[in-house]
Every structure is written in C-alpha cells, then in structure tokens.
Amino acid sequence: MKHFISIADLSRAEAISVLDTAEHMAETQSRSIRKLPTLVGTTVVNLFMEDSTRTRISFEAAAKRLSADVINFSAKGSSLSKGESLKDTALTLQAMGADAVVVRSSSSGAAHLLAHAGWIDQPIVNAGDGAHEHPTQAMLDAFTLRRHLVGEDRLGADLAGRRIVIVGDVLHSRVARSNVLLLTLLGAEVTLVAPPALVPVGADIWPCEVLYDLDDALAAQPDAVMMLRVQRERMIGGGFFPTPGEYSRRFALTTDRAARLPEHTIVLHPGPMNRGFEIAGDVADGRRSVITEQVANGVSVRMAVLYHLLASTSEET
C-alpha cells in the first residue's frame, strides 16, 4: 500500500490485514504505557482544508502514539485561507520533508490529486474528500462491527453474512460511499435507507439494496444500524426534504424504532450527531450504541493505517 485514498483500491486481504493490525494496536492501547516507538523519526502532516476537529485529533493521537512527529496544517490561520492552492501547499510540504500527509478537503478527489499529480512523493492518507470517500472512518466502522458481531475469533475474519443498514443522507456522504465498498468487500449485506432525493442518481449499480422505508429495513432484523449525519450545510439547491420534522418522522432512529430491533443489534453513528434529528438522544446514549467506542477504535485503526504506509520499505517487493 503506497497511499490510503479509497476503499476501492483495497483487496479483501488488505482490508482484513489493516483490521487485524488495528486489533494489535488496540491491544497496546490498553497497556500502562501506550506510546510505541514504531514510527520514531518520521513526520506526519495533518493537512486539514476543511474543519474537522474530531478526525484531526484522532489522526494526531494515532501518529503520536506511534512516536511520529505531527505537524498540523489547518485552513484557518494558514496560507490556505489566503487562497494558496493545493499544489503550492503540496510543494511546500514536499520541500519540508513530510513522510506522510493526512489530507482532509471539501473537494472530492483532493487526496487522489495530491497522490497522483506529481507534486509530492509521500504517502497520502485520505481523511475525507468532499462527498467521495472517508476510508479510515469506514475501517473503524468495520472494526467496531467485527468486534461486536464476530467476537473472539475475529482476527482474520470478515463480515460475511452480517446485515447492516445505513440510513440518511447518502448523496452527500463520503462515509456511506466508503462503507458500502468496504462492508460489501468484507462480505456483509448492506441496505441503504434514504429519501429518494438523497440517494445519488447512478447508485442503482452499487452492490447494495436501496430502500425508502426505514421501518421495512428494520423489520428485516439487521445486525447493525448506522445512522448518517444529515449534512444540512451541503444541501445546495435545497428542497431535499420539506422540513426536519418530515425527515425525522420517516428516517430518524427513534426510541420506538430502536426498541423493535433484535437484542444483539448495535447502533453506529460517525458523528457529529444531530441529536433529536436523525437519532434520538436516548438511542445514542443507550445500550445498543457503540458510538463512543467508534471514536476510540478510530485511533487504533488510524495507527494501523499509518503503520501500513510508513513502517515498511517504499520499494516494491
């Protein structure tokens, strides 16, 4: 693996290998000394052109626990906010000697461009690009799902036969795109549930089912329900649904809906949540919820990704 940009670039074996590494990373994080010397002497740049405190600190914690030096390069207060182009920023980072660049951008394809435009040679990690992909989020979701749904024998295991429902604003969601690719790569059966206007035209060929009715999807007794954030700030053109109330009536995971789920079913949300809108507060805090676990797992998964990119020779073997 030279870069970590899209789940579409991964084989099943590579995906499982990252998940397994993340398990070992998680194990080290339960020790009294959590810092590992693995990446000592390397520098990881967090290039965040779109605000995301959660993802940035998760990557920062991951890099630091592997003893890498971390430079945060955020849009606010940097030359990026003064209109410096991605290209100039990349050339700067190249000249500074970064060993890897973690990039977050509101532009779909920014990470791909950084990896392939020839401006910079270093490994690129996609920390979310527009409405395209958020591959480390999908990895941490799969990691969380595997822990709960497979249990003890999870090392080397996939998610074959597990049924996962993803609900909400699929159109604008990089999390949904990465998860559809990854969960199906791992053998899970994925059902998307969204209002028709929030399902991308062209999604009919995706390897998953698309439903417009959450109650139908929940009646099929899924193993996990992943609620997506409704990204109101991305609703260009507007009118995707009449009112928040109308949306919630049909697509929110309410207490009533959660109560009808099978005993073992878990609830995920990539955060930040709109409590009371797409998910009831009681469900987010309830016994099914693994939402805070997702955050902890995010660090382990990102440690694993940095490990796979940086702790090996860059030469092909």
Binding site: H24, M25, T28, S32, K35, L36, T38, L66, S312, T313
Partner: protein, 191 residues
C-alpha cells in the same frame, strides 16, 4: 541451488529443550514465579514446550498455560522501514501480568540481538518484571548489540552468508535445524 546441512534432529532438539527447562528450574526460578514469553513465530511453540517440561518436572498444580505467553515485538523493531510491511502478532500475557515475575524470553535463533533489544522494549511497555532472562534454541553468533543468552540449546558457529533454518512440528511439520548455504558462496555474502 542451495546446500543444507541438518545440525539438530528431533531427538537433539528435545534433549536441548529438556536441558534448558532444568536449567531454568535450577537457576532458582521454579514454576512459581517464572513466565516464559515466546517471540513469534517460532519462539511461541518453544515457550510452550519449555512450560510443559517445567510443569511436568515440578509436578505442581499450575498448568503450563499459566506460566507461558507470547510477546510481539514488531511495533518495537528498528528496521521496519527496510522491509515490506510486517503484520504485527498477538501479545498474550497470562493472568497476573509480568510485574515481579522472572520473565524468560524464548526465541529460536539468537543472531544480531536486535530482536531481543526490541523484546526488552516491548516488555518494558507492559510492566516491570523482577528479572528478564533469555533462552534460545540456537545461538549463531554475529551479535550487533551487547546481548547474550542465559540458556542456549546449541552454539552454532556460522558465517553471515549462511542461513539458519529452524523447523518445528507445530509450525513446519517437523523438528529440525539446518544450515543453508547459498550455492557457490563461501562466506562474506549478504545476509
């Protein structure tokens, strides 16, 4: 073309391990406070065998599982960037942890000493043993760090161009230690 010479067969390996088990007991660290940690991959079955031998010899209630575990050193290596990605392995520490116990690190071959250096770091991240000792099946020399083994199955003088190949029933289907020489090479070659 390579040329392999078997230097230890199944009986010799068994005798060497039995001797090491007795050495560990006699050095005053019985089954009560010893903890054998195998270094993946082949250190793990070796640690299992030693633990069994010790428990049998002591005739105590504790089972081998309670005095044996495994210690992954991958994340503590200093040569990661010189190799393709190495998948980390599990670390398994039995109940009671390492604090205050005598930890015996177990590996198949002692060579440069760098693996053991990494193992000491990995161990320090887990806890504070009373003492750390080292048991290896083969010591082939060529140390690059000031590290020595406390228990050695066989000292095996080698040249750097040779490869020591350890096979164990659990991992390879047979017990054997061989020296493999690249054809035509007479020492001085790359590792």
């Amino acid at each position: 073309m390579t040329d392999a010479t078997t230097v230890l067969g199944p009986d010799e390996i068994r005798r060497a391990l039995t001797r090491i088990a007795y050495e560990i007991i006699e050095s005053g660290h019985g089954a009560d406070d010893v903890l054998l940690l195998g270094i993946p991959h082949r250190g793990v079955p070796l640690a299992e065998r030693l633990a069994r031998s010790i428990c049998e010899a002591e005739g105590k209630d504790r089972g081998p599982a309670e005095i044996q575990g495994q210690l992954d050193i991958t994340l503590f290596r200093d040569d990661l960037r010189a190799h393709p990605t190495r998948e980390p392995q599990r670390t398994v520490i039995p109940r009671g942890g390492v604090d205050g116990r005598t930890v015996v690190l177990v590996d198949d071959v002692l060579y440069s000493g760098r693996t053991i250096r990494a193992a000491l770091d990995a161990l320090a991240a887990i806890g504070r043993p009373a003492a750390v000792r080292l048991a290896v099946l083969v010591d082939r020399g060529h140390r690059e760090l000031p590290i020595r083994a406390d228990h050695v199955g066989k000292n095996l003088p080698t040249s750097r161009s040779e490869r020591v190949s350890v096979h164990l029933t659990e991992t390879d289907g047979e017990d054997a230690v061989r020296i493999v020489r690249p054809a035509g090479a007479s020492g001085g070659g790359a590792r």
